[in-house]
Amino acid sequence: MKDEEVDSVLAKAARAPYVLQPGTVQRIADSIKPSLRPVRPLPSARVLSSGLVLICATVSLAGAARAGFFGFAKMDLFERLLIFPALILLCWVAGEGFVHAMIPGSLRRISPGAILGFGSAALLALFASLFRDDQTDHFFSIGIVCLLTGLFHAIPAALLGWLLIRRGFAVNPVAAGLMAGVLGGLAGVGMLELHCPNFQAAHVLVWHTAVVPLSGVAGALVGWALRFRAESNAREHAQSE
């Protein structure tokens, strides 16, 4: 059998008249009528993505302002020109991913998982090309502090991002959580790059970059937990009725 034949069989089946049970439309219309009020549509995806990038930049700068801009001071112009625009670009991509995850019917160019993988790989490549110091002094003790500092800044960035697009509707809460986490993680990395003066390659590659996947996974888990809770509530509600 050829594709054209399958097409014509499907078209024939699809053309068959399809009617709803009488009264269905009226019943649905009546159910929404009491709460029918004008609503303000969400702003465009570009405006929301810009807002998310702004939030990340603000959190990073505020964190570094509190802890000190030691990393930024130690960097040369070339490093600054490569690292910070790259972080802004990644924030924009993650922000767009987050916005698309929160608006039904959005066209998704890159999947959330790919954004996480691509973002982490891009950071690794960038840091590997810029930092050549092979020493590993106090690898774990200093590294853990940097990781926790990055994650500590990822949380407010992700929460503020969610606050900005809380009126959206996540058709896939796990994907939305993952994107919020990645976005927050990038804000955390931004803060670390501004603050941390430790330019040992292993330190930056492992502990700074790890903030993004860890916060992404944490965000996905939060999304999963929220979905699970919503389902449990709905089930309890149905049982009580």
Partner: protein
């Protein structure tokens, strides 16, 4: 001669013949979907007549979409009602200028997945997982309530079935299906390809017999 010129000539001929013409109808879009976006904007502004018209236009498609997945009319009725409540709640997330149909289907799909997950959990408490993993069984049980298309698509896995349903029944483009299913156009193409392969096999081998018995071709 372009369509507008053709319309003008036709209008002149009718006027010449003394037939009254309703101008609003004459300039109505050729494809009924062209208006869904405008109706959606009016719905967001609180226009009840626009909401009712949207419900009238979209509901049969969504109902058919649910029926193709669940094979049960009562399930499809419940899902349709639930979908409209959800649509109403999140109607502000539609942005004018964007295609409305993928937005509707994305929400419908979310409601269906939610429903499926809930029923799966409910069933898991009652029996073993293997017993409920059979997806084709309900077709035999409730085939009298399913339409021809549902039966036709029954052998396909859920992800392929919904893509075929959106493309072939709802008449959406590949990009619109990608929007509705939160995936890429490439992934949609791949699903369509696999679905067609499966349909070719089914219709080619068992379909000939079923076609003769009228299950596939006559409904």
């Amino acid at each position: 001669m372009g369509p507008r010129e053709r319309l003008t000539v036709r209008t002149e001929l009718r006027e010449h013949a003394g037939i009254e013409i309703d101008c609003r109808k004459a300039f109505e879009p050729m494809h009924p979907d062209d208006n869904i976006e405008a109706l959606m904007a009016r719905y967001q502004q609180g226009d009840f007549s626009a909401a009712t018209e949207l419900i009238e236009r979209i509901s049969p498609r969504l109902h058919r979409f649910f029926l193709a997945q669940s094979q049960s009319r009562s399930d499809a009725d419940d899902l349709l009602q639930e979908t409209w409540l959800r649509i109403h709640k999140v109607r502000h997330t539609y942005r004018s200028g964007e295609p409305a149909l993928p937005w509707f289907y994305a929400i419908a799909r979310h409601v269906r997945v939610d429903h499926y997950r809930k029923s799966l959990r409910k069933a898991a408490g009652e029996r073993q997982l293997e017993a409920m993993s059979t997806e084709v069984e309900p077709v035999q049980k409730e085939s009298e309530s399913a339409d021809g298309l549902s039966l036709l698509l029954a052998p396909l896995p859920e992800s392929q079935r919904e893509v075929i349903e959106m493309l072939k029944v709802a008449g959406m483009s590949l990009e619109e299906v990608a929007r509705a299913t939160s995936s890429s156009v490439g992934s949609v193409k791949q699903k369509v390809h696999r679905a067609y392969k499966k349909l070719r096999e089914t219709m080619g081998v068992t379909g000939t017999e079923k076609g003769q018995s009228g299950v596939y071709l006559e409904r």
